[in-house]
């Protein structure tokens, strides 16, 4: 039995659709992996650096972040965690905030509209999704 020309089109169409679906699925599943430290100033991400892994033991980075309305915060990123070590905001609550290490955690400086956040899925996946404070 010979396939008709119309059937061939249908088959090609089906194969294409299946192929496209796979591409879609692949891009969806690509969320895991890197743990990033994101610095957000007034709602937009201005720094995004990879969290130091065990191989980066001893490497310490300090970022100076200038706030939108003036002022600064100094963010320190090391294998031990992320913390704000200095700032000229009035309450300095961000400096007193404990250091963070796991995805989902964040430090906030409300006067400077700054959020330092750890994103991604680390090895100890999802200890908590959020923190009530």
């Amino acid at each position: 039995m010979k396939p008709r020309i119309g059937d061939v089109f249908v088959y090609i169409f089906i194969i294409l659709l299946v192929g496209l679906s796979f591409i879609g699925l692949k891009s969806m599943g690509n969320h895991e992996g890197k743990v990033l430290v994101q610095v957000e100033s007034d709602g937009s991400i201005i720094e995004s650096v990879e969290m130091s892994g065990p191989e980066a033991e001893g490497s310490v980075r300090e970022l100076r972040i200038d706030a939108v309305d003036g002022g600064y915060n100094i963010v320190r990123i090391s294998a031990d965690g992320v913390e704000i070590i200095d700032a000229d905001c009035p309450d300095r609550l961000c400096v007193y905030s404990p250091s963070i290490k796991n995805p989902g955690q964040s430090i906030v400086c409300i006067p400077h509209k700054l959020i330092v956040r750890i994103t991604g899925r680390g090895p100890d996946k999802g200890i908590v999704d959020d923190t009530a404070s």
Binding site: I14, L25, G43, P90, Y96, T131
Partner: protein
């Protein structure tokens, strides 16, 4: 195989593939929509899971939160709250419907607790000015003076004309202990109405969940360790929730650090309207888990001020809530419903089994 049968077969195949593709698209579109806002004197993080409509709902929810801030902020000059306070002792002020709703609800909590919850705490809050750099302990006389202006029964509401009037000059309302909760409830309502099935919101530490995670499992919410600087731990325990809100009040968020270091006493931001001083009920933190965030917001403050014994009794009378109270000795008191729900995560805290027969 005759021709028509083959046609039907290939048509079916086509249909099935198309359907699979469409379903794949629908679920594939379920992604995280994120938003951070600085509003209501705090940081607000909204995480909504869903398709494009969820993203639109997120925009609406954020807009609504801004609107509530415009009405209820203590710092914006044109807010209803600022206008009410400026006209104290002079004249009634016309307010927005939501402000009226929140004030009514707050006054109701004032009545239910005999003034433990009092939104006219404004003069005391301003006197202490805990947030500022130059905060210091006020004189007793000053506190006495300002305390005379704290009385929720002197807030007059005219529902017909939608006005609020503070009877005495110098009075001031502060919706700090309830506005965030209301904003959370409003954001949740908007998202739910748009069909959002999974969301995680955080309004300055108040955590609100819609449904569970996108995979259906419950959200894991860590409860902030009130002494994390000393213990080096992030949480004193963890709760798993679906569609509930988790709100804490504690002595660790805003307090005078220098004074604390000198005398060992903590002057924090939650004031007892009966004394004019930061509440000293023996608690470091109180947490409420409930359906309504506004209730949880008010009740966590009430529990914190009353302490665990009286607070638990009051909460039990007020409705269906779960509560956690952590004493200065790091004892964790819980309501009966949390017996199996609280996940220990920190050895420094000692979870006390609830007494039998008591909620």
């Amino acid at each position: 195989m005759n021709i028509s049968l083959r046609r039907i077969l290939s048509l079916n195949l086509l249909l099935i593939t198309l359907l699979t593709f469409l379903v794949g698209c629908a679920t594939g579109n379920t992604r995280e929509h994120n938003r951070d806002l600085f509003a209501l004197d705090t940081v607000i993080t909204l995480r909504v899971f869903g398709g494009r409509s969820a993203g639109k709902a997120l925009d609406k929810a954020a807009e609504r939160i801004r609107e509530i801030e415009d009405h209820m902020s203590a710092t914006l000059e044109d807010s209803d709250v600022s206008r009410i306070n400026r006209a104290a002792g002079k004249e009634p002020v016309k307010v927005h419907e939501d402000t009226l709703f929140v004030i009514k609800r707050a006054l109701n909590y004032g009545e239910l607790t005999g003034g433990v919850f009092d939104i006219t705490i404004g003069p005391i809050v301003n006197l202490w000015d805990i947030k500022s750099e130059k905060a210091s302990i006020p004189d007793e006389d000053q506190i006495e003076d300002k305390l005379a202006l704290v009385d929720y029964r002197k807030v007059r509401i005219d529902e017909e004309n939608m006005t609020v009037f503070l009877e005495e000059e110098g009075m001031a309302v502060d919706l700090g202990a309830i506005a965030k909760g209301y904003a959370a409830d409003e954001a949740t309502r908007i998202l739910r109405e748009a069909g959002v099935k999974s969301a995680l919101l955080n309004l300055g530490g108040n955590v609100i969940t819609i449904g569970g995670k996108p995979d259906g499992s419950p959200w894991r919410v860590g409860l902030q360790d009130p002494r994390s600087q000393e213990t080096g731990q992030n949480h004193f325990a963890i709760v798993e929730v679906k569609g509930a809100t988790v709100v804490s009040s504690g002595d660790y968020e805003r307090y005078m650090v220098d004074i604390y270091e000198r005398t060992g006493e903590r002057y924090h931001h939650i004031f007892d309207p009966r004394t004019g001083y930061p509440a000293q009920s023996g608690l470091m933190v109180s947490t409420i888990i409930s359906a309504s965030s506004m209730d949880a917001d008010a009740l966590s403050t009430i529990l914190f001020i009353m302490g665990h014994e009286d607070g638990f009794k009051a909460i039990e009378e007020l409705g269906n809530f779960e509560a956690i109270a952590v004493s200065l000795d790091k004892d964790v008191y819980i309501t009966e419903g949390l017996k199996d729900g609280l996940i220990p995560s920190n050895d420094l805290y000692n979870i006390i089994e609830p007494e039998a027969g008591r909620k």
